[in-house]
């Protein structure tokens, strides 16, 4: 081993930097000890104490860089010195990294993006509540995707939002489209003049998609969260959003979508609408429409009707109730083609849904046609499925319900459970039609049709092997602008032998015709 001293005259570097470099030099091959310092009296004394100072080093002054090394005999000094020079001439990196700072909190995010005006929160419920409050305190609008926020907390947050004049969408708000930006699970839709406020995620998705597919567009689609219209929460978000849409210059017609509100909240909302200078359409899905009708308000029974009523308004046409977008004789021949392949015991529709509101809508459509549907979310209490995992006669299951999603991803993201259920239904000799929703858009599976198609092919084969024919009817909630592309998804499903209907309501109607073996 040998001590080496190298002096670089009149080269000044910061002492902290030099200590860091010394540490790096120690890692080089052939180095036993290393120190790079300015040649001050103190530093030279330190080196001497450690046996690292030679006579040439002693000559170094305070403005000279002194490199002191203890190297192994086989060390390649030239390579080492080259490496040291590289370290000495490297630029500080601190300032360069500033652009890629990753904030750890809302506060630090705001210090980076002070112009932020919306916070999207999908954290676990317990924490979501606090972050939402923080955001509101800082004057930011909030989309609160998280569920598991208590009613008390919801009321507190919504009251705060109201005081501050801010928009709080949620908790448990799956879908919103603000300024044509899809938040959460939402579709890429057209810009237009229809303003929507809704207490239902898939309801908003279905309606905004239908509007877009009909060539019209929306201004805003504000999600309120499912509990907003309960008596306790009192529609705090809905009322604020309605007022904002009334104020909004671009909104020419307002569409209100919700499950039936509590009676007091309904009155409150209808009162606000009383003074509304703009036309509006109400859809309390599955609710009593008498109150609204008494006031002379336009009421839509289904999501489909709500969308098409709005479309008719925009296109300045009279709204006409329709059964199907295609001529009835075409539909009927398609229907007959399906049921003609059934065996005699096949009688029932099995609805397997990922969206709660579309499940509800299909339920309403069939109930209207006199077909009673058992369900985990029935429209008549006596039709409640005892076991959601086991279909009875006509059965619709909302697989997005909490009992299915506990501990597993939502069925719009992960198709495992739905695929298993498809196979299970196919094995039932009484099952005639499997009716489903396929939801596209942002936040959901990147190719849902492929998932469904793969299970359908298997299911149809099982039925065929047992001498039956399985009819599969689907409606796609989505647009051709969605990342999955509605047209492409439709093609995949077609190829798997699936009947794809243009709306969820029509898919339900079609299924009814099939099980009734109409012609």
């Amino acid at each position: 081993m040998a001590v080496k001293n190298i002096v670089k005259k009149n080269r000044y570097l910061d002492s902290v930097l030099l200590m860091l470099i010394s540490n790096q030099i120690k890692e080089l091959d052939g180095i036993v000890k290393a120190s790079v310092m300015m040649g001050t009296d103190n530093n030279r004394a330190l080196l001497e104490g450690d046996g690292l100072l030679l006579s040439e080093g002693k000559e170094a002054g305070a403005n000279d860089l002194l490199i002191a090394l203890l190297v192994k005999d086989n060390a390649d000094l030239e390579v080492i010195l080259e490496e040291i020079e590289k370290l000495l001439s490297q630029k500080k990196k601190v300032s360069e990294e500033k652009g890629s700072l990753i904030p750890k909190s809302m506060e630090s995010a705001l210090s980076i993006m002070s112009e932020a005006n919306m916070v999207v929160i999908s954290l676990p419920g317990d924490y979501a509540r606090w972050e939402a409050e923080k955001a509101l305190m800082k004057g930011l609008h909030v989309m609160l995707f998280s569920d598991n926020v208590s009613v008390e907390d919801e009321i507190e947050l919504k009251t705060l939002a109201r005081e501050k004049g801010l928009l709080l969408m949620g908790p448990d708000c799956g879908t919103s489209i603000i300024n044509n930006v899809a938040l959460g699970f939402a579709n890429i839709v057209n810009k237009g003049n229809i303003g929507i406020v809704g207490a239902s995620g898939t309801g908003i998705q279905e309606v905004t998609s239908l509007i877009t597919n009909a060539g019209c567009g929306i201004t805003q689609a504000i999600g309120t969260g499912g509990r907003d219209l309960s008596a306790r929460v009192g529609g705090l978000t809905m009322t604020g959003a309605l007022e904002a849409l009334i104020e909004d210059k671009k909104t020419e017609i307002i569409l209100l979508i919700s499950k039936p509100p509590s009676p007091q909240v309904e009155d409150k909302i209808l009162d606000i609408l009383e003074g509304c200078p703009k036309p509006f359409i109400i859809n309390f899905l599955g609710g009593d429409v008498e109150k609204s009708k008494r006031r002379g308000y336009k009421v839509a029974k289904t999501l489909e009707e709500a969308a098409y009523m709005a479309v008719a308004f925009v296109k300045k046409e009279d709204y006409k109730k329709i059964e199907f977008n295609y001529p009835l004789h075409e539909i009927k021949s398609l229907v007959e083609k399906e049921w003609s392949k059934f065996s005699k015991d096949q009688k029932y529709i099995r609805g397997l849904y990922s969206g709660g509101s579309v499940c509800e809508e299909a339920n309403i459509v069939l109930d209207d046609l006199g077909i009673l549907i058992n369900s985990n979310a029935p429209i008549r209490e006596e039709l409640k499925l005892k076991n959601s995992k086991k279909s009875v006669e006509h059965s619709f299951v909302d697989m997005g319900d909490d009992e299915f999603t506990r501990g597993v991803p939502h069925p719009m993201i992960d198709f495992t459970l739905r695929k298993e259920r498809i196979i299970e239904e196919a094995k039932d000799p009484e099952c005639a039609v499997i009716l489903m929703d396929v939801v596209l858009g942002l936040g959901v599976h990147e190719n849902p049709a492929e998932e469904i198609a793969s299970a359908v092919v298997k299911a149809k084969k099982i039925a065929e092997e047992e001498g039956r024919y399985l009819s599969v009817v689907v409606s796609i909630t989505g647009t051709s602008k969605d990342p999955q592309n509605r047209d492409r998804q439709k093609k995949i499903l077609h190829e798997a032998g699936v009947i794809v209907m243009p709306t969820n309501a029509q898919a339900a109607r079609f299924s009814a015709l099939v099980v009734r073996r109409e012609s």
Partner: protein, 354 residues
């Protein structure tokens, strides 16, 4: 009045907390989005989170006031005097130290060494052994610098005969004190107590202190905050890099030093001492900070820290709204850079002196 419809007119800029897929969704739509790398606050303790949020609301106004007080502070170096003549509560048998309160038994090596050196310097003990005995018998009163409007670097030992910088916060009229910096190498603040250290302390008491006193008094006061502001622009961080600040201070001081009746040799020695020690400014800067943060000590409802200090054994904080109370925790092991020939083992030895 609702501001909700305001956002309809604006470009949406989003902070995303939670699912990463929502961030990519927004990027897909060309929306400006910033993802927060979120972790549960307060280690996920819900009671604590709820308390912190309440605290935030309560403290908002007070903290604003606190920050304003600190910003509005104008620390000015007004005098240089002996500790015993100026530090409140100081007496011959008292040693001030860094950090929260501590007993001799629990002191780490360097702080003990500095205490021993101080007793030798004060001529209370003739040698280290006697100093150690006196200290272990409890004949000396220990008190944190922070209890006396004072601060000191490292061990932070202040004894009665040492000269101290006297800073006055001109805005709030409160005062603060700190010792004069001894320079690099072996020094009392690092726990050294050999002959060189004691001799230098004596010289500082006999020559440096009185000289600075004369010059500073003639100056009518040197604004430390202004020096700090300039030095920060010049690359100092005014903690471990004080070269610009020390030179700026010297530039302010020199004319007054020359105006004193001191001999050329003394002036030269003082001048050389300051130029030879790039940390000359450090202690002054610390006292200036102390005089600024003391203005929030006891500020009701404020959650700002009025002090954060360690003594090698404990680290302590003082929360403005809770006044003089200390909250302490064991001092962590510093992850440091070592001079050649020294390693972590030396550090552990220092920390765990019996």
């Amino acid at each position: 009045m609702s501001k909700i419809s305001d956002i309809f007119e604006k470009e949406m800029k989003v902070i995303n907390m939670g699912l990463e897929s929502f961030r990519s969704s927004m990027e897909h739509q060309h929306v400006k989005v910033l993802q927060v790398d979120w972790k549960p606050p307060a280690g996920g303790n819900k009671k604590l989170i709820s308390a912190l949020l309440k605290l935030k609301k309560i403290s908002e106004e007070a903290n604003k006031e606190g920050v304003e007080r600190i910003i509005n502070s104008q620390p000015v170096l007004m005098d240089v005097k002996k500790a015993i003549d100026v530090i409140p509560g100081m007496h011959k048998k008292m040693l001030l130290h860094a950090g929260p309160p501590i007993t001799w038994e629990r002191m780490c090596g360097p702080v003990r060494g500095a205490c021993m050196g101080a007793l030798i310097y004060e001529e209370i003990a003739e040698n280290p052994e006697k100093a150690e005995r006196i200290l272990s018998r409890g004949e000396i009163e220990f008190s944190p610098c922070h209890h006396h409007s004072a601060v000191g670097p490292m061990a932070g030992i202040v004894s009665s005969s040492m000269y101290v910088y006297c800073i006055e916060n001109k805005t709030f009229k409160n005062k603060s004190y700190s010792t004069l910096n001894e320079g690099l190498g072996k020094a009392l603040r690092f726990g050294s107590y050999d002959k060189d250290v004691i001799e230098r302390l004596k010289w500082m008491e006999q020559v440096l202190g009185p000289a600075l006193q004369k010059a500073v008094r003639l100056s009518g006061g040197i604004n430390v905050k202004n020096l700090t502001a300039q030095a920060l622009q010049m690359g100092d961080e005014c903690h471990n890099r004080n070269i610009a600040a020390s030179n700026l201070f010297l530039k302010e001081l020199t004319p007054y030093l020359l105006k004193t009746d001191l001999s050329k040799e003394i002036i030269l020695k003082v001048f050389q001492f300051i130029t030879g020690n790039v940390h000359s400014f450090l202690n002054m800067s610390m006292a200036a900070c102390k005089s600024s943060t003391d203005t929030i000590l006891g500020l009701k409802n404020s959650t700002l820290l009025s002090a954060m200090a360690r003594n090698g054994t404990d680290i302590g904080i003082r929360i403005a709204g809770l006044g003089e109370r200390w909250f302490t925790a064991p001092a962590g092991e510093p992850k440091g850079l070592y001079f050649p020939g020294y390693t972590r083992v030396d550090l552990l030895w220092l920390q765990h002196l019996p």
